[in-house]
Symmetry: C2
Subunit: 277 residues, 2 copies
């Protein structure tokens, strides 16, 4: 039997475990994870690493972002047999990957480092723009809600989610996990003019005047499927006055997806940061 | 002979002249102007107006932006036979146009208003980002220059272009115009962290630390073909030290395209504003 995969590393010594930090514009991808059809970030990264290492490479991502979701600080782990300098690995990967994906850091990690299992905390950000018109430069990167939002009400409701709770009400239906209890360490809504949070001042200075940008940021020890997007869908209903801000506690307590708001679209969501011990 | 085009407006009264202000992300277009192949902003706008007016409509743009060039405040003029409220015209056009193009204002203009001939002044902005890596969210919207730029030198050189000059050295070769003399009323380079000018703080806060964003803004009574991009190509050569800042006066005086720098790429350029008397 001829093996394309060497059973031993091609150089002496153990394979080295790597920690890669990456950003991506999720617009054109089917998501982080390999799918039968379409381009995934995982597949492109694995293919690039395979070209470098001369053998199949398995990449683990800290967060399996859905189709259309962006990343500012996704973390991936992989083992490489070939010895390479961190800066050289980063440069080579960026040369092979499309410009929608950038490796912003590459460093050697302790043997056995696992980007998903070892993650202690993750931070997501969700951007919403309001107003009649959404800038041609913002529509791929923020959820456009036409109605004005009561940001104080959203902000108070968001704060009520901080802490250790059962987030079953905000989990996508049909998901099977051992526990739906998670600890949210921070859950904050901030309002800003579009120049502040979504579109640059370079662009926003020239947009008509009624639009606002809102950023929701949440950190926690783990997230259920669609949890951030379901929270944002609920917060936006509070912001437009369709739902009372005080109802969020009852929604949480219900553990019933049917009591929460709709799932906010993927293209406003960013995986911002993954923290390790 | 059967005429698809009614010779008279379909309602009583004169056709009304309209002034439309629009933004577009130029990435996917062949430019403002209709071409034999590919999608142009002019064609999409004319097709939308034709659907509204029920007859062919000719649209004039203040600036014939090239393929890939963006707009924050392009102005177009057109005559419509059908009576319509400004807000309704804006809404209907935005409903028909792709999200890459937004009508940010629609207003009735004096009869005979011509977006190009009547323009008194135009303002363009050009964005440059420097650093090893360009954010996945910025590469379509700014020119990526790896080398650090000496911004003070660029700024002084830019200032030397203000005034009434013969800009033949910065005109694309093979262009035939009556005069290459133009008045530049403002020519300014400003440096900023990426969060300030190109990428939003939401994104930039998470980028590695060595990148800078530079905005060049120029206003004048008219611009030669590729004039802004050729000026930027020259300023960037000054910024990286390949060209002395004091040479810009000699370049201008030479009236020779060969003495100026390369043409900066289209995707960093924005038509920001068009002013009328």
């Amino acid at each position: 039997v001829s093996l394309a995969v060497p059973e031993e590393p091609s150089r002496h010594g153990q394979p080295r475990t790597w920690k890669l930090v990456l950003q991506y514009d999720g617009t054109a991808f089917v998501g982080w994870q390999r799918q039968a059809e379409g381009e995934s970030i995982q597949r492109l990264l694995e293919e690039a690493l395979e070209r470098l290492d001369g053998r199949p490479v398995k990449v683990v991502g800290a967060g399996r972002t859905d189709a259309g979701v962006h990343a500012l600080g996704q973390v991936a782990s992989a083992c490489l047999a070939r010895e390479v300098q961190p800066s050289e690995l980063q440069r080579a990967l960026n040369a092979m990957l499309p410009r929608e994906i950038r490796i912003t850091a590459a460093e050697a990690a302790p043997s056995g480092f696992h980007a998903r299992y070892d993650a202690r905390s993750k931070t997501y950000r969700y951007l919403v723009v309001t107003g009649d018109i959404v800038s041609p430069f913002a529509w791929r990167y923020a959820w456009h809600v036409k109605q004005p939002l009561q940001i104080d009400a959203m902000s108070r409701a968001a704060g009520a989610l901080a802490g250790r709770h059962d987030f079953a009400a905000f989990q996508a239906t049909g998901t099977d996990v051992k526990t739906t209890i998670r600890t949210v360490t921070s859950s904050v809504v901030t309002a800003t003019r579009p120049g502040g949070a979504v579109v640059s001042p370079a662009w926003a200075a020239d947009m008509p005047g009624d639009e606002t940008a809102i950023a929701y940021e949440i950190s926690g020890d783990g997230f259920l499927r669609h949890m951030v997007r379901n929270i944002v869908g609920t917060l936006v209903e509070i912001g437009i006055g369709r739902r009372d801000e005080s109802s969020i506690a009852a929604t949480l307590a219900s553990r019933d997806r049917g009591t929460a708001g709709p799932t906010a679209p993927a293209h406003g969501l960013y995986l911002v940061r993954v923290d390790y011990s």
